[in-house]
Structure formats: C-alpha cells, structure tokens
Amino acid sequence: MLFRHECKKIVCSAAFIVYCVISLLFFFTNYWTDCSDEVSCSGQGLIAVEDHDRIMDGATNSLMGDFASNRYECYPYGFYKAVHLKEKKRVKIRSYLEEITGVSGEEFDKLLKKSDPYFEGFSTKELYEFHDIPVKEGFSYDRFIEIMADVDDIVGGGSIYNPEGLMYSFSLVPMAEEDIKAEQDDFYKEDKITRGLARLFCDYAGICLAILPVFTAAWLTAADKKRRMQELVYSRSISSCRLVFTRYAALLFTMAIPVLAMMILSLIQALVVYKGHSMDMLAFFTLPTIWLLPNLMLTTAVGVLVTEIFSSPVAILSQLAIWFYSVMAGSLELSGGLDRFTLVVRHNTPFGRDVFLAEQGNFIFSRVFWTVISLVLMLLAVAVYSAKRGGRFNGIRLFGKDSLFRRKA
C-alpha cells in the first residue's frame, strides 16, 4: 500500500528522527519538569482584572510619559520598539490627553513640567515618567477605549495601548486568597486535573508543532527531486490528488506518533503525581487533538506547498516567519487574548479555566479556520504538482540563471 510505503520512507529519514528527538527534548525540558510535582496556583502571582479606574489611571500616566518623551513603547513582533511621532500626530495625542485629563492649554504644559527628565545609557534624549496625573472625573470608559484604540493606530499598532491588552499592561494585581482557592478548586473539580494539564501540554506542544513539521514535510517533498526520481514518479498512473494527499496523510500520521507518545507519557505522569484523585482519562487525547492537529496540518501543508513551488529552504523560512509572528506577537499574553485567527494558541498555565472557556468561541473558530486553510493549501499543492507533472510549470527559482518567475527548461 502506498500509504505504508510513504510512512516507512518518512520514519526512516533523518529529518523525522531529529523531529522526534527535538519534540521529546522540548517536552521533557518544559512540560515534564513543570508537572513533575503537583502544580500549585499560588505561584501564579499576578492576575489581570478589568478594573476600569486602574486601567485608565495607569494608561493615562504612561501615555503622558510617552508623549512628553516622544517615545512610545510598542511590541509589534513581541520585541520592544520605540516609536517617535511627528508634530501632526503629537498634536492629536495631546488633544486626547487634554480630553482625558480635562486640562488644556497652559495648564496642560504645567502638568507636563511636573516630571524631571532622566537619561538612559549613552542616550542624550530626555525621558519623562508620570505617576499622579489624574483622569477627569466621570470620564467614560467607553470613550477612553475609543481613544486608546486610536492612539494604538497612531503609533502603528502593537503598543501597550491596544484596548485588548490594556488589562494585561495596566491592571495586574496579586491574586487574592479566594481567587487562588477558586482556581485550585476548578483545577481539581471542574477540570479533573487532566483537562488543565492538557491545556499546558498543548501550549508547549503547539509551539513545537507550528515549526518542526515543516522540516520533515520539506524533506519528503524534495526527496524525489534530490534522488532524481521526479520523472519516474510523474510518469506513473496515480492521480496527482491521490499521491499528494497520501503523502500528506503519511506525514500527518507519522508526525502525530511522537505527539501521541507524549500524551500517553503525560497521562502516566499525571496518574502517578495525582494518585487517588479523580481524573478525566480522555482529556489528554481529546483536547490536544483539537488544539494541535491544525498546527500540524498547517505547518505540514506550508512545507509541502512552498517546497513544491520554490525549494525546501524557502519553505523553512516561510514557516519560520509565520511561527515567529504567531508566537512572538502573542508573547505578551501567555494565556488569554486569543484571536480568531491565532495559529499558536497560548495558555501557559494548568489553571485559568474561566479565561480559556471565555474564549472558547474564538478557539474553535481558529481551529476550524486553520484546518480549512491547510486543506486549501494542499489543494493548491495538488494543482502545482499536477502542473509540474505535465510540464506546464517547473517551479520558481529565486536565484540563478533561470531565476524568479522564469521557467526552467
């Protein structure tokens, strides 16, 4: 059977063996060590609360400092980036600050002078910090959110003023005793331990599965060319659709094996650590399948399609860019803040059941969305393979004699 042959080919390849080793290494150094003892909620530290006054106060003081320094803190790709605004945009920010504080004109200038400048490193640039700028009494939170959304737009997005992240930037408070107890209770009673642990497992495994499979997929796709077997395979009677999808299925099946092994190991670990507690025995298999399969499918599909069109290094670079954006852009929120188009879903805690359930709609949407996208990419891969097979297309070379968008004879 072709499927069996393809699986055997993959399993015997160096790329697959390294995939298994790295996945397991990642699993043991992250999830396994985190969960080797009973997890405790007390270590979770701060919690984001939707305290409107706290958010408005914190954000206003921060924006005031940024305005005075003309240096706005942004994290468009998860890394710090300072944005400096031109006069026209500064005027707009000033008008917003005047609206929020209820102070304008010379009074506002006086407010700005309340802070003494300070310097960072070698820089000669004057920087300012504010802590006690008050928000106008009775200022509407809805209007405040509108302003913050516009400020985020003005500075180019990804700033700490993004309405979705305001809570995480300006309203973090230490967890109260009762909150800790409630989280702990949820973990044992509602989540039956394994559901919470499965979420943490998926958080780690999701990071891996959004990048690692691309290597194996790129290797398998390029294997025919490397072995100079393309024409031999092209001339067989099998349909392009069947061949491409059989190979895709074989990639998914083989690469799911180490993930399954990790699920089983996690369950065994949980059974040992939480001996005597009642557990949901299936949670380690159901949730990770829904959570991780789209990651595996998409990464593999990108690997197959881009290798078919360009080459394997381009496929690796493409997926690296997707991974980098997906993981790093969301790095501010290790749990929560789930978008409908998030590929790498983060939930770096076995607790936080409520946060997770609150975003269940987005979660399901994102999983279905990426599954559909993966299948669409694979259909494209079939079309490309078919065109190459019939001599209508020979792939695109980025460099060299017959490079970019020129067909190679």
């Binding site: 015997c12 100079r228 077997m229 024409e231 031999l232 001339s235 097979r389 067909r407 004879a409």
Partner: protein, 298 residues
Amino acid sequence: MDNNIVIKKLNKFYGRKQALFDIDLTIEQGMFGLLGRNGAGKTTLMKTIAALHQKKSGEVTVCGVPVGEAAKIRAMIGYLPQDFSMYPNMRTDEALDYLGALSGIPSKERRKRVEEMLKRVNLCEHRNKKVKQLSGGMKRRLGIAQALLHDPKVLIVDEPTAGLDPEERIRFRNLLCETAEERIVILSTHIVGDVESTCEKIAIMDEGRILRCGTVRELLENARGHVYTANIEKQYMAQIKKEYIVTGMVAQAEYTTVTIVSDAEPDLPNAVLIEPDLEGAYMYCLRSNGCSVKGGEE
C-alpha cells in the same frame, strides 16, 4: 482500436527556444529507434509522448488517446528515464512494490507482478539488496522492470545502455527485444550499435527535426555508393579528416585504414567502395541533410 503512436505537426518550445519542429511520425508495434546526437530533441519528443511535457501545437495520440489525457496516457506507458535512480535505502523488491503502488496496481496483483519482473530481469537473488548496493547494470535492469511492471502498451526507454559494459549491453538489448514482441518499444540512443542490433524501424533526429524515418534497410540503401575505405599514410591523416567524414580508423604499421563517407568518389588513389554499415549510413544521412558533421575532424 488504433495500436500506433501518431504524431502530426508537433512543435515544442522551451521559453522562446523551439525544441521540436513540425514532427510527423507514426510508430507501430515493435522496436522503434530514435537516433540522434546529444541535444537532438530525442528526450523532449519522448517526454512529450509520455505526457511529461506540454506541446505547443500539433497532435500526438498514443493508441488512439491524445496526450492531453495525461491520466490515460500514464496508465498505458512505461517510462525509463535517462538517469534512472531510486531511493537508495529501499530494497530492490520494495522499490518495485512502491512504484507498482504508484501505478495503481492492486496489492495482490502487485506481489505477483513484482515476482515475475524480478525473475524476468534476473534480479531474484538481489531482491533483498538495497538499491544503492546494485551495480550499474542491475540498476538498469531494475529500471526496465519498473517500467514493465504494469504491463504497459508502450515502453519508452531513454538511452538505456549508456555506461553499461558490453555483456550487460547485449543482455539489456535482448531483454528489450523480448518485450517488444507484444508492445511498442521506443528506444532513444546516440549509440548506433544499439539500434542496429535491435530495431527494425528508426528515425534520425537533429536539432529538433526528423531527418529521416524508415527501416534500417532503407537507410543503408540510401547510403549505398557513398561509403569508402582507403589506406592512408599517416602524414595525410590530418588532411583527410578535414576533407571527409571519417567513420572508422584502424592504425597499421605504416598506414591507416580509414572508412570515409563522401557524396562523390573521393580523390584518393586506393579508395574502394564498400557496403555501408549503419554508422556510415547515419553519418551520410546527417551530411546529406545539411547538418554540420565533424566525423573525424579534431
């Protein structure tokens, strides 16, 4: 049902470069040789027949099926590419089984066919060897086995004997002739000896055109009266090579016996007209069609 390959006014381009010019050809059951030098367009023509290349214009039908219907064409064609290679870590029988699966042969029948093919190409005792452990000749035999696996109506083999030792080459030719009893076999080569000993009908190609198509006998007939032999003193050899197409040279102690292809009787004192061999006939065909022929010239 039509059992021939019919090609009418076939043109093929690589970008702006034309690779095939108005090819007209009919190939019937049996061995058919495509002879031509490297770059003559043999591989392009065969790949177009095998639906691996797109044609620009013209008509190509294989046993009545137009090449546009790639799926049907692939089911009836067996193809052995010029540089046949397989996944090196697969076992010989496993490689055949894999390619059989790609040809859509059901598993029960596939096992039977793999067995038959291994026997037919004498690879039974090497069935457990990995592909990378096979010798050049064995690999070619594996190549022909994989091409015949699904019992195709048409077998296309591209320069299959290049790099084989004489014994393996004879063995391979015989194998091809046996298979040609029940199907069309197209053999492309630049080695005249391969065609001479196996094919009844041949076509000579050059620069994307068919120069001549017919039986070996017709080709030889065409060259009759144009092939000579002469004994030449060594100091005149350079001049002879410049003036004539030299297809053979046997060095003796004081002179060299040369075989010459020439339109008119050569101006040599001891030149003798001889019966042309296929090599001579091929060279004459190239020359008479205005191709630049450098036979013997250094």
